[in-house]
């Protein structure tokens, strides 16, 4: 009886499984095929073998993404927490306010950030006028800091959203129970709320980390093009016709991400391992 019930419910996943096999697995097989063949379609390991050259780019992309994700978490968690404690009406309002900037075009948004932070931008003009200097005081665009800022700016909602959903669903009696048992609000947060919102944190970290690793417009524009992240490299391989190398790089990247997320899930909590 129990088995039959769960079988019935598992059928709900059927459309998705069908979809996934057709539109995820099949295209993925194409990527794998390209990764292991040369330009003439013959089997070859040369693409995989050439990947050593890209190690520094891989490393830098990972580092930037890790830092951006950490900052997103540090900013996003308190944000989600504060919003979840507001009145239901303001909760909805704040969450929409958080998503709204995402509905402008990424490129135009990035140009606007540049207009503010560039050497001749608003920030430097204002401070230049105040302190009466001609030379730009802050050189921001073209540094890695600017790229991290751009990533945090763009991906923050993806961190806040799942954490907020998680916190707002925690039984309100938990707070009372904790304080009845002698917890200060801070202790309640750390000992009760944080562990209970772990699955939201893991979702958020995944949703920020992964696009941060593979982004390329943000780094091109805000990084001043002086360094490359793996997204740039893959893009150039594809558009200059080196499909096979591009496919190999992305295959390795996928595997790396998969491993790191699996490891992360192992440590997260007892039941969270299934989120990703």
């Amino acid at each position: 009886m129990k088995n039959k019930k769960s079988l019935m419910s598992s059928i709900m996943a059927a459309p998705h499984i069908f979809w996934a096999v057709l539109f995820i697995v099949l295209p993925l097989i194409i990527v794998v095929f390209y990764a292991f063949t040369d330009a003439n379609g013959n089997f070859s390991f040369s693409n995989i073998a050439s990947l050593g050259d890209y190690a520094p780019i891989f490393g830098l992309s990972l580092e930037l993404a890790v830092i951006a994700t950490a900052i997103c978490l540090l900013i996003g968690y308190p944000l989600a927490y504060i919003i979840s404690k507001a009145s239901p009406k303001s909760q909805k309002f704040f969450m929409m306010l958080l998503m709204l900037p995402m509905w402008t075009n990424l490129l135009i948004r990035t140009y606007s950030i540049m207009a503010i932070l560039d050497d001749g931008g608003f920030l430097n003009s204002i401070f230049g006028a105040v302190f009466n200097v001609d030379e730009p005081l802050f050189h921001i665009v073209g540094t890695k800091g600017a790229v991290i800022f751009g990533m945090v700016y763009d991906f923050l909602p993806y961190m806040v959203l799942p954490i907020y959903t998680c916190i707002s669903k925690i039984d309100k009696h938990m707070w009372e129970a904790a304080s009845d048992l002698g917890c200060t609000p801070i202790q309640t947060l750390i000992k009760v709320i944080l562990p209970l919102s772990m699955s939201g944190i893991i979702s958020g970290v995944t949703m920020v980390l992964v696009p941060s690793i593979s982004t390329f417009y943000i780094s091109q524009k805000l990084g001043g093009g002086t360094f490359e992240v793996i997204g740039d490299t893959i893009e150039r391989q594809f558009v200059t016709g080196a499909l096979n190398v591009g496919a190999a790089i992305s295959l390795i990247m996928m595997i790396l991400i998969l491993i790191s997320i699996t490891v992360m899930n192992k440590f997260s909590d007892e039941d969270g391992g299934i989120i990703v």
Partner: protein, 714 residues
């Protein structure tokens, strides 16, 4: 506490919204600059409302985002419940891992693999016209990459909710389905909605995946905007973004005020009602929009002729700027008068030659007109992608083309291409920031002048960047000798510490705002920058060591479904009216004799611009130009050299790019996360050991008591 959290919210939202306010500000700018505000004007809003492309693109974008978000939410929510119910751990892991593939792949890989996939689908099912399945392909691709986000949003909530509620419902007589719909769904609704919002947002902003999948008759807004990056993203796009943001913001305020009046009770029911209403409205709007989108596709099946034109962004007077006419509309009219048949032009745009190539080479999309540059034409001919035809005989207006642009190296017999624009690159400099003595040499060397460290820009593509170094040192820009390229690389490595950045279209903002002092770019674009209101005084010269000449020409791909109409189109573009309109709009030099002699055109451009654009042509035009051109244009790379240049470019980007703090901070983060995880497992182990110990003690105690009793009761 309340106070600090308010300040915190205030700061975060201020940072989030300052760029948005900047964007809104520039949509009201009097000049074309998006870096310097020169005065208030509604010009860009007027332009926007006159721009048919922008509205078609907006409609397409919304249709796609709504439908794909809807589809992804339904499939994703069901899937999350299904995945939760699966008890076999391995199957579960397999499904979730596969689900997340589109999220983990860089967009470009998903886009590329989807494109190859649909090309295969068309081959298998013998579908001739990509326009027929193009919209479905876009919808499938968008739904696919939105799915993991929906599942990732819903699954944690289902996990937390557990089974007890729905089991209780089933014990009380619900079927599993109604237990899910009536008990579980209302409980997970907030996360379902946030998943839907996220899916909508992602689809709305997606560029890369759409880029590879988009059919000629379905250009989305991001595609339109990104294709402008060859030249410049105009403020009318800022105006459109402003309208979207402000509209949503107002709707948000209204809905907030309204819900204020209502009773606070029965919250759940209200949320459910709002959600149902929202879904209903969205569905209706989507159906209306979809029928609109469909009508465009259906129309192509009746008596009308369709022509798929694929051009650089901002590279044709397409009605997007109120100052100029719409040559595509002019052609549609002309065609109707001549043949009595309606012709519909599907006009879409790209940003680089390489983008065009990968689309023509790998996808099943067929275009009737493309406008690649010289070296790319050579490559397309090599790959057998262009249609060969007798240009002189088939295009009567070809006589208008200056002989200098005929029999070019890439098309010696004039059987593939008809020149559209040409131009050169040179050095743009800020007259206030650069000393005159440094300009006297008229050399590329100024890009290596240490005096201007931090104020110099360089191209952010290997072809042009290497060329600046190679022209400077007299190296052959088409060399097949790897060592020559190594030499050029060492020059670029030397230059790197002096650069403010490697840029493309950002150069417009950086030069017009005075952020940078010196940059190499194309002469036509210099004229635009110099004439931008509020820009500093900018100068330009052609370096004496030699410059790149490029020619962009109209070609017909082999895959064209309608080559005769395409020829008619090319012929029309060479007519005086259309050519003049285009030349004014683009601002590049025209190879059409009727243009360079047209008085309106000369008046409009001004003497200064005409001199710069045309006087560089040698007097003995025919021979000399071709000779000069032949030595300094780009030619198609051999695959070996292409790989070599890619590798060298990567080396350039890797060199000396370390900012030590990045390593330190990222290592610290990883170490502390790992530390926390280990500490946590340690604590848990210790705790469970403690529990076990306690249990044991209890047991021992019990057994002692029992044995005591046994002893006491003999």
């Amino acid at each position: 506490m309340k106070y600090t959290s308010r300040i915190y919210l205030g700061i975060v939202f201020a940072i989030l919204y300052i760029p948005i306010l900047t964007l809104i500000l520039f949509s009201f700018n009097a000049s074309e600059s998006t870096a310097v505000f020169t005065g208030f004007s509604l010009k860009w809003y007027r332009d926007l409302f006159a721009n048919p492309d922008a509205f078609t693109a907006l409609r397409n974008t919304l249709v796609l985002a709504i439908l794909s978000a809807l589809l992804a939410t339904v499939i994703g929510t069901l899937a999350a419940e299904g995945i939760y119910k699966i008890r076999n751990k391995y199957i579960k892991t397999a499904i979730t891992s596969v689900t997340n593939v589109p999220m983990m792949n860089p967009d470009i890989v998903t886009g590329m693999s989807m494109m190859l996939f649909f090309a295969a689908v068309m081959a298998i099912f013998k579908i001739a016209d990509y326009n027929e399945i193009g919209f479905a392909a876009m919808l499938i691709a968008h739904t696919t990459f939105c799915l993991p986000y929906v599942i990732l949003s819903v699954l944690p909530r289902i996990n937390e909710l557990g089974d007890s509620l729905s089991e209780a419902a089933q014990d009380l007589g619900c079927t599993p389905l109604s237990a899910f719909l009536r008990v579980k769904l209302p409980n997970i609704l907030p996360s379902v909605l946030s998943g839907a919002v996220m899916a909508f947002t992602l689809s709305l902003d997606d560029f890369v995946i759409s880029y590879f999948i988009a059919p000629p008759n379905f250009q989305t807004l991001p595609l339109l905007i990104y294709s402008m990056t060859k030249k410049k993203v105009k403020p009318d796009m800022y105006a459109l973004s402003t309208i979207i943001v402000v509209t949503i913001f107002i709707l948000l305020l209204i809905s907030n005020l309204k819900s204020d009046k209502k009773d606070a009770g029965r919250k759940k029911k209200r949320i459910a009602a709002i959600a149902t209403a929202a879904v209903a409205v969205i569905a209706v709007v989507a159906i209306i929009f979809a029928s609109f989108a469909g009508s465009g596709i259906v129309a192509s099946n009746s008596d009308t002729v369709t022509l798929n034109v694929y051009n650089w962004g901002e590279y044709m007077a397409d009605g997007s700027d109120s100052e100029y006419g719409n040559v595509n509309a002019m052609f549609e009219e002309y065609y109707y008068e001549k043949y009595g048949k309606r012709i519909v032009i599907n006009y879409s745009t790209y940003a680089t030659n390489e983008d065009l190539f990968s689309k023509l080479n790998n996808s099943a999309v067929s275009y009737d007109i493309v406008i690649p540059s010289d070296y790319m034409i050579e490559k397309l001919i090599e790959e057998d992608l262009l249609l060969s035809f007798d240009v002189e005989a088939d295009i009567p207006n070809y006589v208008n083309i200056d002989d200098a642009f005929k029999n070019t190296y890439y098309d010696k017999d004039n059987v593939y291409s008809v020149p559209y624009t040409y131009g050169m690159m040179g050095i743009i400099y800020n007259k206030e920031m650069v000393d005159e003595t440094d300009l006297e040499e008229l050399s590329w060397g100024i890009l290596w002048n240490e005096k201007y460290a931090g104020k110099i820009l360089q191209f952010n593509n290997p072809r042009d960047a290497f060329a600046t170094a190679m022209y400077w040192k007299g190296l052959d820009v088409n060399s097949t000798d790897p060592e020559v390229w190594d030499e050029a690389l060492s020059l670029l490595v030397d230059q790197k510490p002096l650069l403010q950045g490697y840029v493309n279209d950002e150069i417009f903002d950086k030069m017009t705002s005075g952020s940078a002092a010196i940059a190499p770019y194309f002469v036509g674009d210099y004229i635009t920058m110099a004439e931008t209101e509020g820009a500093p005084d900018l100068g330009f010269y052609y370096p004496k060591e030699g410059v790149n000449y490029f020619i962009d020409a109209m070609c017909i791909p082999k895959s064209s479904k309608n080559p005769e109409a395409a020829k008619e189109y090319i012929n029309f573009m060479l007519s005086e009216a259309a050519a003049v309109e285009n030349a004014m709009y683009i601002g590049y030099a025209s190879p059409n004799k009727l243009v360079s002699e047209n008085e309106d055109y000369i008046d409009y451009m001004g003497e200064f611009a005409i001199d710069l654009l045309y006087d560089t042509m040698p007097d003995d035009v025919n021979k000399a130009y071709n000779e000069v051109y032949g030595t300094t244009c780009y030619k198609n790379f051999t695959p070996d050299i292409q790989t070599r240049v890619n590798t060298l470019w990567e080396n350039l980007k890797i060199t000396d790019s370390t900012e030590i703090w990045i390593h330190i901070v990222s290592v610290l983060i990883v170490v502390s996360v790992a530390g926390l995880a280990i500490y946590k497992t340690y604590i848990e182990k210790k705790r469970s050991r403690d529990y076990r110990m306690r249990d044991k003690e209890k047991k021992n105690a019990k057994s002692t008591v029992a044995s005591d009793k046994a002893l006491n009761n003999p």
